[in-house]
Symmetry: C2
Subunit: 534 residues, 2 copies
């Protein structure tokens, strides 16, 4: 072999130029992939984040959570059949072991998608000049792709496919770069399911889970049949109050409460459902400190994270210019809990539902290795892993077609769409709602406007309960032709909770802009009628 020439040296230097030693960036992805070696993505291949993560130079390992794991979770054993998978690496081995059907009998030869070509994201542009992406049955062996239908249509492992795990791991590192060494990702069949699994993993019947005073009603209703109650923490316009959380925990009386001190916090930090509140940086840090003080495990539910909008300026003030680049966009995002999680006390739940499509039924968790392992054991004996067809569609869209760069462009476009929609509903509220009765904070993220009703001005305020007046207004709104959610549906506590305020939640995600404005107008009529204003 010839000695290295100057050209070789230049070549090496070139390579080193693209190797990013710090946190992963979009630009660093190709070098990272090249460095991680041959990608193994065949039938039921292991989808392990560790294959795709960066070197964890100097990061501490996560704390262990054995003291909080439920009897159920602790007793989960690896599947005996899946345990035999280790022998599958033996060269030349023929398996008569697992009952995996032969791909010959999968009746889908090709799957083709038409998707937007960044940055032309509108439906009209996609119709005219969308990109066609195609998945064949044997693309892997034919060298056409890292994923194919023969693999996606067969059984997979409980983590999800390595094809999609690679993408979510890279995305998570780019966005969150968790500050401990042994973080991992695993796919979920959506956050509703991940949350149910988390309850079963961390709680026993009789336990309390802490959350915002008003919270995602399904989170509460998923917990209740499991014998788990929610306990609401007081909120302001930035969401839950750390002092109130500390107060509840510091003064916990097991006997009076009939339950051990809570050890789990469920929170939606960004564009909270239903209040629309977004926790600021200082708020997040303060809450994390309280969690450390009381050794609380945090379930971070972040479906609306990328729907952080432009500041609301109102009709007479010019719009603030949006971030001009993906980097500027990433820098402008709120820090996530998992990004400040030096203890590994956070399970972050990400979802494609609000930013790609709910029908994919694919999301993912990010947590420490111990927690991800327990979660995956549960996957193996329940939902197994998300639909391979969904995983294929997301892979073709996010990895092969858009890449991380295109996806961030998509998110930037989407947040501007939501900004526009929010501004329309707020303009409608300003125009059509009686502001002596109805008030609101323009949300900085998410899909929801939280309307506070000055119910004390209702003519029957002294004789009727808040709940009765809320129901009257709800039905009056339906009578006017608008469905708007009652605030009481979102109370964390379903018994012994005495509301002091009255709220309604309106979404600006679903209806067309004209309909949205008309709906608010109708709601205005209902409010005026109920409150005897005309």
């Amino acid at each position: 072999m010839a000695p290295p020439s100057a050209i070789d040296i230049v070549h090496v230097a070139d390579n080193m130029d693209t190797v990013i030693p710090g946190p992963l960036t979009v630009k660093g992805v190709p070098a990272r992939r090249a460095k991680s070696g041959k990608f193994v993505g065949g039938t039921a291949a292991l989808g392990d984040s560790d294959f795709f993560k960066g070197p964890d130079t100097g990061k501490p390992k996560a704390k262990r959570w054995d003291h909080y794991l439920s009897v159920e979770s602790k007793s989960r054993q690896p599947s005996s059949l899946k345990g035999a998978a280790k022998y599958l690496n033996t060269p030349g081995l023929i398996s008569l072991g697992g009952g995996l059907p032969c791909s010959e009998y999968f009746p889908i030869e090709e799957l083709t998608l038409k998707v937007p070509s960044p940055p032309h994201f509108s439906e009209k542009q996609t119709k005219q000049s969308g990109t066609i992406v195609k998945a064949g049955k044997y693309d892997i062996s034919e060298g056409k792709s890292a994923y194919d239908l023969s693999v996606a249509l067969n059984y997979g492992m409980g983590t999800g496919s390595p094809q999609l795990i690679r993408w979510v791991t890279e995305h998570t590192e780019i966005v969150n770069n968790p500050p401990y060494a042994d973080w991992q990702c695993a796919l979920t069949v959506g956050t509703s399911s991940a949350l149910e699994q988390a309850y079963r993993m961390f709680c026993e019947r009789g336990d309390y889970v802490l959350s915002e005073e008003y919270t995602f009603s399904s989170a509460v209703e998923t917990a209740l049949p499991l014998g788990i109650k929610f306990l609401g923490i007081k909120m302001d316009s930035e969401g839950l109050l750390p002092e109130s959380m500390d107060d509840i925990l510091s003064n916990w009386d097991e006997k009076a409460r009939g339950a051990r001190k809570p050890h789990v916090l469920y929170t939606v930090p960004t564009g909270q459902n239903p209040s629309g509140a977004t926790q600021g940086v200082a708020r997040r840090q303060a809450i994390y400190l309280v969690a450390q003080k009381h050794d609380i495990y945090i379930l971070e539910d972040e479906p609306y994270y990328f729907l952080q909008m432009q500041p609301h300026t109102g009709p007479d003030t010019p719009d603030v210019p949006p971030p001009a680049t993906n980097d500027a966009f990433l820098n402008a995002l709120m820090p996530t809990y998992v990004s400040m999680d030096i203890d590994g006390r956070v399970m972050r739940m990400d979802s494609f539902s609000k930013v790609v499509a709910p029908g994919s039924r694919v999301g993912w968790i990010t947590a420490s290795e111990q927690i991800v392992e327990r979660f995956v054991r549960h996957n193996e004996s329940s939902n197994q892993n998300p639909s391979g067809i969904s995983q294929m569609v997301l892979f073709k869209l996010l990895d092969e077609s858009w890449g991380h760069d295109g996806y961030l462009q998509w998110l930037r476009n989407l947040r501007l769409e939501y900004t526009r929609r929010r501004d329309i509903i707020i303009a409608a509220c300003e125009k059509h709602l009686p502001q002596e009765i109805v008030s609101w904070n323009p949300p900085a993220a998410g899909m929801f406007l939280w309307l506070k009703l000055n119910w004390q001005l209702h003519p029957a305020a002294s004789s009727k309960s808040i709940s009765e007046i809320e129901e009257e207004l709800f039905l009056s709104a339906v009578g006017q032709g608008v469905l708007i959610s009652r605030g009481s549906w979102f109370t964390a506590e379903r018994s012994n909770f005495i509301p002091h305020d009255m709220f309604f939640r309106a979404t600006f995600a679903a209806a067309t802009e004209e309909k949205m404005t008309e709906a608010i107008e109708r709601f205005g009529v209902a409010v005026r009628s109920c409150f005897g204003l005309e």
Copy 2:
């Protein structure tokens, strides 16, 4: 209006001709659909079997199972947000209620599939002359299809979409025609998940579930962390023995067992995993009678139901001609438990995994209205419903492209493929295995050959345990380059079980035919070597 003319009367008579008053047949489907009125399949539309079932003339209603429902299941309440859905039928209503994203932001404009054109099912034929089926975003409003991407990519209801519920309800009625009035179907994200939900619905910690002595290991391993143990019933070549089941139940001693008398039977009646056994008609009837006698609820897990093969004839006997028509095929199938279930004591779990593709993560249950309702409440707060993308792919394949007729043709083709594969593995066993050591029954259904080892002939039979010899043979087989599953992985009871026999399970589903034969040859070498035959 003109009085009815003779032509009108003829027209009515024509219509009546196609209305099938008896059980639904494939030919009766168009008339049934026409009769069921306008199909409603928009965003989050209700998928209720009752819309699509035939008239239940004279059938009794199912028994109620309140006495068996778990604390968890009994306490499930309908979701408050989903409860508001009833107002969505109000004409002209605008919803600001649910946080459903606008379909404008779903980045998939078109999805196209290439699928086999019945009866040309081979990969080669599909490549050359497959059918192209296309799903657009707004096919419903454009009058092109009953299902579109704007719906499939959004949230759905806990039953699954009406598009696919219609298909599985019709299919279930054609195949099973349950003999009680209030049966329904609901989609699942696969049977592993449905089974976990069923355990949580019917059992408490400490309960026993009955099953075959050797059973699907994941069924056991899913139950164990929930505190539920399996109790094995003795088996013969037709699977579990009703007398043994009756004996266990008649002599149940709560104190000695430390548990209440079991009330749930888990069974795989057809092509049982791992034994390959198929219960005959009389066996099924006898088991159902025992279930009635002891008020047992039956979980009927039937992934291999349509893999009922042609009789095994051996090399020197001509093949039995397969059923020539779909009707003959349906008539030749074993009766299912749900088809004889006059009490409504069966939850049948169907799966697309073995007959279409495991990666779809879609299956369905059939059970009484009470049980389906509880199951759907659980769906709503966990996996919600299967991937809409999977549902769309199955709808395009099964409903729009193949129809019931084409699907039955597909199943007939598939069972012949499995018949061929079974005959190949048996020929290989006859040729390569020492029959004084290894014996088997040719399976009548499924994917598995259950090999019995005459372990008493092992040179160390008097000094080593069955388990040690089993392990030695397993590792010897791996050493020879074949992975074959150990029988002990499939024992229903994981402690206190003393095996008398030694088994290995080989699947004929996965490997190519050449590899399968080679694998059996290798296993033969391993057996001979372990048993000191050469």
